[in-house]
């Protein structure tokens, strides 16, 4: 019996020839990540265990992206604490201020993750790096402390679920529409504890940015990781961004899957997840009566160049609906700079959008766009739980960048065709 890509990466990091789903492994890690919300708890545990050093100062990453630029005194104190720890322990990859971007967009861009890696992060969307053919998963602060100190982690080998996608994508449909479509199919616990593996010609046709969006939301189906085959597009991305050697693993033809789904790309429409679960998915066309107060285009799911490019193409020469706030958040300084050079910023400003510095900000109801009681947002983010973006009686609809931009123009949920 063959092995899946996930099993092969885990086996290699446990120095084993082969592994089986359900087996508990003691694995080497290539990177341990924490942010300004989760690192403070990690550092408390670090002190409790009396550790003197991190296992490798090059392989511990701190990104101060959630409540920054510091939203209040407590957030500032947390960042200060992480900064001091980083200085003391010589942490090379400490990102804040003008070097800081949203962690899951920043790490691949900085070349810190490559194919074949095993990455753990104290952030549930750490699963994003599966787009590069790496195994990456979210954990809590304490588990990440263990990884920071020992360079190892324990992992249960997950079963793998295969999503095979064929056919041609409709115009304006991205990876975000696909992952929302899948969430609608399998539910928020449809991949509980499992690896979500993607394959097929329609997957090969997707940009890296779209693949990051899909891998990012594996956690929304309860998945342990999302993972993609490594192809020419992945390799050219890594060549552009990374200097570290990568290792390509591929699933065997006779690898075992707990479930297999076939998805016709041409049937994936403008998926929108209605409150208050990411699996509560309808087509944007059925939701045109839903008035909206705020649109957010950004986050670790959809704050990349492809997303901004689409939003700019739709907003060009148009105006944001009066009374609606449209907040655009480029995910990293490099994306910010490129969007500016390409003229997207002028388009956004002319349309009446707000351009935010890179931050997780409103996605988790942190700052930079909190909703009042009764308000409603369409966001390209990843969660629409009760009160996620503000008041418990506010609502979030999750969508891709094209629907978000069209909605900003119409003031109600809209498909891109309605404004072009």
């Amino acid at each position: 019996m063959g092995m899946t890509i996930t099993e092969k990466i885990l086996a290699a990091h446990a120095d084993k020839e082969r592994v089986e789903p359900g087996e508990i492994l003691d694995c080497r890690i290539d990177l341990a990540l924490a942010n300004d919300i989760t690192a403070p708890l990690s550092l408390e545990e670090f002190e409790k265990v009396g550790a003197k050093a991190v296992f490798d100062p090059d392989k511990v990453v701190f990104v101060l992206d959630h409540f920054t630029p510091n939203k209040d005194i407590l957030s500032a104190e947390n960042c200060k604490r992480i900064r001091e720890f980083s200085r003391k322990h010589g942490i090379v990859n400490f990102f804040e201020g003008g070097e800081c971007g949203i962690e899951h967009a920043l790490l691949p861009e900085k070349g810190l993750v490559v194919a074949g890696d095993l990455v753990i992060g104290a952030d549930s969307h750490t699963c994003t790096y599966g787009a590069l053919g790496a195994f990456s998963t979210g954990m809590g602060s304490t588990d990440v402390t263990y990884g920071m100190v020992t360079g190892r982690t324990w992992l249960k080998v997950p079963e793998s679920i295969k999503f095979h996608c064929y056919g041609k994508w409709r115009k304006w449909v991205t990876g975000k529409e696909l992952i929302l479509h899948i969430l609608g199919m399998i539910g928020v616990d449809g991949a509980l504890y499992s690896a979500m593996e993607y394959s097929g010609e329609a997957i090969a046709a997707l940009s890296m940015d779209s693949r990051f969006s899909i891998a990012n939301m594996a956690i929304e189906a309860g998945g342990k990781n999302g993972i993609f085959p490594v192809d020419d597009r992945t390799i050219s991305y890594m060549k552009e961004h990374a200097t570290r050697p990568y290792k390509v693993y591929a699933s065997d033809d006779d690898a075992k899957y707990s479930q297999e789904y076939e998805i016709d790309a041409s049937k994936v429409g403008f998926s929108v997840a209605c409150p208050s679960l990411p699996s509560n998915v309808r087509d944007a066309g059925e939701l045109s009566a839903i008035d909206v107060d705020q649109v957010v285009i950004g986050s670790c799911t959809n704050g990349r160049l492809e997303d901004l490019e689409m939003a700019a193409a739709i907003l060009a020469g148009k105006k944001v609906s009066k009374g609606l706030r449209c907040i655009v958040i480029p995910a990293t300084p490099a994306i910010y700079g490129e969007a500016m050079r390409r003229g997207y910023f002028q388009t956004f400003l002319d349309a009446g959008c707000i351009i935010s510095p890179p931050t997780c900000g409103p996605c988790l109801g942190g700052h930079m766009g909190i909703l009042a009681k009764g308000e409603r947002a369409v966001a390209t983010t990843n969660r629409n739980f009760i009160g996620r973006m503000g008041h418990p009686e506010s609502e979030v609809y999750l969508a891709g960048p094209a629907v978000a931009a069209a909605t900003a123009i119409k003031g109600r949920i809209a498909r891109p065709e309605e404004v072009l």
């Binding site: 708890l41 550790a51 209040d72 407590l74 954990m139 809590g140 263990y146 109801g365 942190g366 969660r383």
Partner: protein, 161 residues
């Protein structure tokens, strides 16, 4: 270890934004986190819950974020145990790391708010009224970790050893 407690029922997919909303995540003090536990769904919960009470839930309890503030908030209220049909993966690891016990059993429809149940955490036997339900055993690896005093104590011993 046997715990006996009054129960609080919460349905399916109780996410970490309900357990502890992000606006409190700059806090690391468990006491402060406990004061806002379940706030979007049950604002009076922190005031009305008593130490020793038990949470009973449906499927996918703890879904969403990796925030360890979630099990910290629950444990800070003196809640020793959650019994749910299933747990989200990250929450499962976090809870055990923070000394909060979890048992997987489908007892949601067998009990009502305020009932008292008796649970033997080591055997997984749950007694609720007339019913006796056996929870899915805690994986042996987790039991070993618990016996070591949790991941941090295990690491401490390793570093001292």
């Amino acid at each position: 270890m046997i715990v006996k407690g009054r129960i609080w029922k919460f349905g399916d997919n109780i996410d970490t934004d309900i357990i502890i909303p992000a606006k409190y995540l700059a806090h690391t003090d468990p006491k402060v986190l406990g004061e806002h536990c379940m706030e979007p769904l049950a604002p009076n919960f922190p005031k009305e819950v008593r130490a020793g009470d038990i949470i009973v839930s449906g499927s996918n309890f703890g879904c969403g974020s990796s925030r360890e503030h979630a099990p910290l908030a629950i444990a800070a209220l003196g809640i020793p145990l959650i019994v749910a049909k299933t747990f989200a993966r990250i929450f499962y690891r976090n809870a055990f790391n923070k000394g909060l016990a979890l048992l997987e059993a489908d007892i949601y429809d067998l009990v009502k708010d305020g009932d008292e149940i008796e649970v033997d955490i080591s055997t997984g036997i749950i007694r609720c009224g007339e019913n006796k339900v056996e929870a899915k055993p805690i994986p042996p690896f987790m039991v070993d970790l618990i016996n070591e005093g949790g991941l941090i104590n295990y690491l401490k011993k390793k570093l001292e050893g």
